[in-house]
C-alpha cells in the first residue's frame, strides 16, 4: 500500500505541469483503497474474527490508513527535532523555523563508449559522465531506531548495498548522516556512482556555495559562469564542483550546510537540494591516462566506504551562528585524534 501511495504521489508530481488525468488518478486511488480493504479482509481472517461486512471492512481500512499516516517519530535534542515517518526523515524543526528535509541515496549509471570523441566517452576515473539526467533513487527500509541519553539514531538500509544512520547527539547543534556504501553491485555489467541528496525547501535560486580547497567559499550558479555565456555538453557533471569541507545553500532565513569528512564532489542540481558523491565503481576506462577501469576490489569484493556528513541549519543573518559554523568546519577538518590504550596493568586509583 505504501508503494502504491508513493506511486500516486509520483504520478501527481509528474502530472503537475501537464494536464492531470483525473480519471486515471481516481482509478489508482480506488485500487489503493481496494488493496487496503483486501488487507483488512485477510487480517479479519487471520484474527479469526467473525466475517465483517463491507462497511465494517471499509472502516477498518480507513483506520489502518490513519494509523499508517500517523506512524511518525522524532529524534530530539536541545537544539532541534527531526521528524520521521515511514518514508524517512521529513522535517528539521528548530525553535524559530522548520525546514523540510529528505535524505535520499541515489545512483547514477556510467556512460560507456569507445572514447573516440566527446559523445563516445566512457565514465571513468577522470570523467564523471552519467547516462541519464535523473539519478535512480534507492528505496529505504527502516532497520531500527535507537534512543538514549547521548545519541538518538534512525537507521535505514537499501537493497543496493547502501545504508544510512541519521544521528543527533545530546548538546550538539548538528545532525549527522553516517553512511556505509558498497560493495557497489555490478552483476548487471553497469558501472554506478552513488550519491546522497539532501532535499529541502530552501529557495536558493540555483545558487550554492562550495569551499575552494579549504579557503574561501565560492558562489556557483546553475547554468551560469560569471565571465561567459555557457552552453554545457554535460548538464550534470558540468555542475559538479570539488567540496573539500563544506557545501551550502541558503535563502533569507535558512542556510543548510553539509560538512564533509573528506573531499567529495558536490552540486545542487535542483532547487533546495544538495548532492554529494560518495562512491564510484565503473567498468570502463575513460582513456585519460590511467588505462584501467575504476573497479577496485578487496578480498574479491568491491570496496566499501564509510563516512559521515554533518548537516547544519543556521540563520545566515545571525553572526553568532555563522561564526559557530565556521569553527565547526575547521574542527571537522581537524578532528580530535583518539588513542585507545590497554590499561590492564593500571587500576582506576593508579590512573
Amino acid at each position: 500500500k505504501v508503494n502504491i501511495e508513493k506511486d500516486i504521489n509520483a504520478d501527481i508530481l509528474k502530472d503537475k505541469d501537464d494536464n492531470v488525468d483525473v480519471e486515471e488518478l481516481e482509478r489508482i486511488i480506488k485500487e489503493t483503497k481496494l488493496e487496503t480493504i483486501g488487507k483488512a479482509r485477510s487480517l479479519d481472517k487471520k484474527l479469526n474474527y467473525p466475517n465483517l461486512n463491507e462497511e465494517e471492512l471499509r472502516m477498518l481500512a480507513d483506520e489502518a490508513l490513519v494509523v499508517e499516516r500517523a506512524d511518525e517519530d522524532y529524534l530530539e535534542n536541545e537544539y532541534m527535532k527531526i521528524r520521521m515517518d515511514n518514508t524517512g526523515v521529513t522535517h528539521m524543526i528548530l525553535p524559530d523555523r522548520t525546514t523540510n528535509l529528505k535524505v535520499q541515496l541515489h545512483y547514477w549509471t556510467g556512460c560507456y563508449g569507445n572514447n573516440t570523441n566527446t559523445h563516445e566517452r566512457s565514465s571513468g576515473a577522470y570523467i564523471f559522465r552519467p547516462q541519464t539526467t535523473v539519478p535512480y533513487a534507492m528505496t529505504y527500509r527502516n532497520s531500527g531506531t535507537v534512543k538514549g541519553p547521548i545519541v538518538q539514531e534512525y537507521r535505514a538500509e537499501t537493497k543496493e548495498n547502501a545504508a544510512s544512520v541519521l544521528r543527533i547527539y545530546s548538546g550538539l547543534n548538528y545532525f549527522v548522516h553516517d553512511f556505509v556504501v558498497g560493495p557497489i553491485p555490478i552483476e548487471d555489467k553497469v558501472g554506478k556512482e552513488y550519491v546522497v541528496r539532501y532535499d529541502t525547501n530552501v529557495v536558493n535560486n540555483g545558487e550554492f556555495y562550495t569551499d575552494s580547497n579549504g579557503r574561501q567559499m565560492l558562489k556557483r550558479k546553475l547554468n551560469e559562469r560569471p565571465q561567459w555565456n555557457l552552453t554545457l555538453e554535460e548538464p550534470i557533471a558540468g555542475y559538479y564542483y570539488p567540496v573539500t569541507n563544506k557545501i551550502s545553500i541558503q535563502d533569507e532565513q535558512t542556510r543548510i550546510s553539509i560538512l564533509t569528512d573528506r573531499s567529495e564532489g558536490g552540486s545542487s542540481l535542483e532547487e533546495g537540494n544538495i548532492e554529494l558523491m560518495l562512491h564510484r565503481r565503473l567498468l570502463h576506462d575513460d582513456a585519460f591516462g590511467v588505462g584501467e577501469a575504476l573497479d577496485e576490489v578487496a578480498e574479491g569484493k568491491g570496496l566499501v566506504m564509510r563516512g559521515h556528513h554533518k548537516l547544519l541549519n543556521i540563520n545566515p543573518k545571525n553572526a553568532v551562528e555563522v561564526i559557530a559554523e565556521r569553527k565547526l568546519v575547521i574542527q571537522t577538518h581537524l578532528q580530535p585524534i583518539v588513542f585507545v590504550s590497554n590499561s590492564d596493568n593500571v587500576d582506576f586509583d593508579t590512573w
Binding site: P149, I150, V151, S263, Q331, V338, S341, S343, F348
Partner: protein, 222 residues
C-alpha cells in the same frame, strides 16, 4: 624525529594529484597503502613511548600501556574489544574548546566512563549497524559502540578511563531489531554472567542454565 620524518615523507608522496583524486593505477594504490601503513605504524612508537613517559614508567620495564591501532571506520579496535579496562586519550588540535562525540568499539556489556577528574560521566552503548558488521575486510569481535561526549580543552589532551563492569548490558536503551536478532547472544551473556558472579566452572553444563534464569522481558517499541 626520524620516525616522524618517515610519515612526513609518505604524506609528501600523497600530495600527488593521482593520490588525492584516486586516478592512480590499482597497483600504485596498493603501494601508497603500503607506504602509509608502514609510516603510521612507525609513528605510533612515539605515541606508545609518550603514554609510558607520562606515566613515569621506565622504558626498560614492562610498559604500563600497550597500544594497538584502531580502525574506527570499521568500528574495530583490538584494545577496547579485548580489555576489561582501557584508557581513551584524545588530542584536540584546534585552538578552542570542542565537544566531540566519541565512539569506542566494544563487546556487549555494561561500561563505566570516567573523566580525567575521576567523575563518572554519562555514556551509552549502541549496537553496531549490520551493514558495518558485514564489511568484507572487517575482522573484529566488537558488536557495540560505547558513546560518550568528550569536552576537550583548546590544544589539550584528555584521558578517559573506561572499565567494563558486567558482560550484560543495561537494557535501558532497546533497539528492537537488535534485540530479536541477538536473542541467542543475550541468553549466552546471561549464562556467562551468572557463571562469573557465582564463580562457577564454565565448562560444566549447569542445570540452572535452563531452569533458573528467567526469560528476559521483551520490551517492544510499538
Amino acid at each position: 624525529s626520524f620516525v616522524l620524518n618517515e610519515l612526513k615523507s609518505a604524506m609528501g608522496v600523497m600530495q600527488h594529484h593521482d593520490a588525492i583524486t584516486g586516478t592512480e593505477k590499482q597497483h600504485v594504490a596498493h603501494d601508497y597503502e603500503r607506504l602509509l601503513d608502514a609510516a603510521v605504524e612507525d609513528a605510533l612508537i612515539v605515541a606508545r613511548q609518550a603514554f609510558n613517559k607520562i606515566a613515569q614508567r621506565d622504558a626498560l620495564k614492562q610498559p604500563l600501556f600497550s597500544y594497538d591501532r584502531c580502525r574506527f571506520n570499521e568500528s574495530s579496535c583490538p584494545t577496547s574489544e579485548n580489555s576489561r579496562q582501557f584508557v581513551v586519550t584524545i588530542y584536540n588540535p584546534v585552538g578552542w574548546m570542542v565537544m566531540e562525540p566519541i565512539h569506542v568499539p566494544v563487546l556487549d556489556g555494561t561500561y563505566e566512563v570516567y573523566a580525567p577528574n575521576g567523575e563518572k560521566i554519562t555514556s551509552q552503548l549502541v549496537d553496531i549497524p549490520e551493514p558495518v558488521k558485514k564489511i568484507p575486510t572487517r575482522k573484529s569481535k566488537a558488536s557495540h559502540e560505547l558513546v560518550f561526549i568528550a569536552k576537550l580543552h583548546p590544544l589539550g589532551v584528555k584521558s578517559f578511563y573506561i572499565k567494563k563492569t558486567s558482560k550484560i548490558s543495561k537494557r535501558d536503551v532497546v533497539n528492537t531489531n537488535e534485540y530479536y536478532g541477538n536473542i541467542n547472544d543475550y541468553w549466552k551473556n546471561l549464562h556467562d554472567n551468572f557463571v562469573e558472579i557465582h564463580n562457577l566452572d564454565d565448562t560444566v553444563d549447569h542445570k540452572f542454565k535452563r531452569e533458573q534464569i528467567p526469560l528476559p522481558i521483551m520490551k517492544v517499541d510499538a
